[in-house]
Point group: C2
Chain length 280, copies 2
């Protein structure tokens, strides 16, 4: 039976460390770290996420500002708000909560956020730095996966890592991080032909495709580390992209869903906000 | 016996097409495409490269300006020159010929070049765009490899591609291009443990490590496409990273050294200069 990777405990440890680091930074520099969160419209899940982010900010000592705009906000109004935050010296990090209402052009709004206030790691410049192994903020989910492996003292050097999924938010930045951490990395996706065979070569298998219980026992090598990034709602229950019940009998370590990668994302957002805020 | 991929012929075809496209662009817009090349110091190889670039510019119809500064140029003088080119409206592309003399900080100088005048594809922003699959200029060597495969009608979709080498100039951008072209991609490097075994899974094997004849027959699957990015000088002769004589008997297609990937880089530089120049 695999070790169950406890994302809740790790994320709490990270937030506790951050709390100390931020307090020390504020005392020694007299400067503030702050996060402006922009929420547009009535998406219920988005409202919950935004509240969770504000709570996390409060916990670690980041000043948070939440801007709630109505569903009927125009493109111009949204851009004006984000631009004003870009120019506001007291704001050190900006996050726009996606998705926006459909009539708004998300990309145009995201592009307004400069790399030094981009706490999501979504800007072209920050993604470019990431691929090259330069210090930068990193998309929260893959950053969280790396922190989980670090907290469980897993050394990636020379390991065969297989990433299933090639999204710009998870699969691709994950791949960059793993290459820079000295793993041999294979990226699989919808066009991959011999997926099960490749997955079985993985010492570390990272799955981020959004298909419930897609990875089954026969796709996993004995003793592999399995990281499940998927969060799918099936019959009102959250399940990952990995068939936990069977795969956990073969793996040496595995993340559960919920309670694995999920809780890490807000902790990493806090860490990114600290990194962005101190790189001024 | 493998088909020998003819980089010279393909690069000429690309330059001839560019010549037409640039002439048409100039006529229809009344605008110019130009490239400023900065050479500092006495490196003999650099002088040859800079001359070759000027000749290629002339061939395709790009106005070229070459700035030659002496070996004893100071950091401030170098930065002043590059900054003046950044602000010069008649210059649409800027290339600094590396390596610079050792007393200069290359990275600080490279960072002055904005993404829209970066014809090498080295800027953080352009590398970030590349990883996400957005339209951008791409580091010339991996861009050249993609064009070679395209000219030989090789469809990467669902193919297993193995990249040996993870440099910021070749291995990493190559990986990004292959993922975006729907290949299943594995990146190997100095820490990879079972390299020969992984290399043998490759439908397409791309080698960029700078070690003469490193890839031998036993590391290549029958019928694989082998792309040799290495250019090593051994006993006064140029040899690649692949043992051409034996591997060419197993491969279905292979690039020779010289005459394979090498001639493509200047053609792709011309193409990048055109892309950067028309995206104003």
């Amino acid at each position: 039976m695999a070790t169950i990777i406890d994302g809740k405990a790790v994320s709490l440890a990270i937030k506790d460390q951050l709390k100390k680091d931020i307090a020390e930074y504020k005392t020694s520099t007299g400067k503030d770290i702050s996060l402006a969160v922009v929420l547009i419209g009535d998406d219920p899940a988005s409202k919950v996420y935004v509240n969770n982010k504000a709570t996390a900010c409060e916990y670690v000592g980041i000043t948070s500002y939440t801007y709630r705009l109505p569903q009927e906000t125009t493109q111009e109004q949204a851009e004006d708000l984000v631009s004003s935050l870009v120019n506001d010296e007291k704001i050190t990090g900006i996050l726009v909560q996606l998705p926006f209402p459909k009539h708004l052009d998300e990309n145009k709004i995201l592009k307004l956020i400069p790399a030094n206030k981009d706490v999501d790691g979504f800007s072209d410049e920050n993604i470019g730095k990431l691929l090259q192994g330069k210090k930068t903020v990193v998309s929260c989910t893959p950053f969280g996966v790396m922190e989980l492996l670090k907290h469980y003292n897993y050394d990636l050097t020379g390991k065969n890592a297989v990433v299933i999924g090639r999204s710009n938010i998870v699969g691709k930045p994950m791949t960059a991080l793993l290459i820079n951490a000295n793993a041999t990395v294979t990226v699989c996706h919808s066009k991959t032909k011999n997926l099960a065979e490749i997955a079985r070569t993985a010492d570390v298998l990272i799955v981020a495709i959004g298909r419930p219980k897609f990875v089954t026992e026969d796709m996993v090598k004995d003793g592999a580390v399995v990281i499940d990034v998927g969060i799918n709602r099936v019959d009102g229950k959250l399940v990952g992209d990995v068939d936990f019940d069977t795969v956990s009998k073969k793996a040496s370590m595995i993340t559960p869903v919920p309670g694995g990668v999920g809780p890490m994302t807000i902790a990493m957002l806090m860490k990114n906000t600290f990194i962005a805020g101190t790189e001024r």
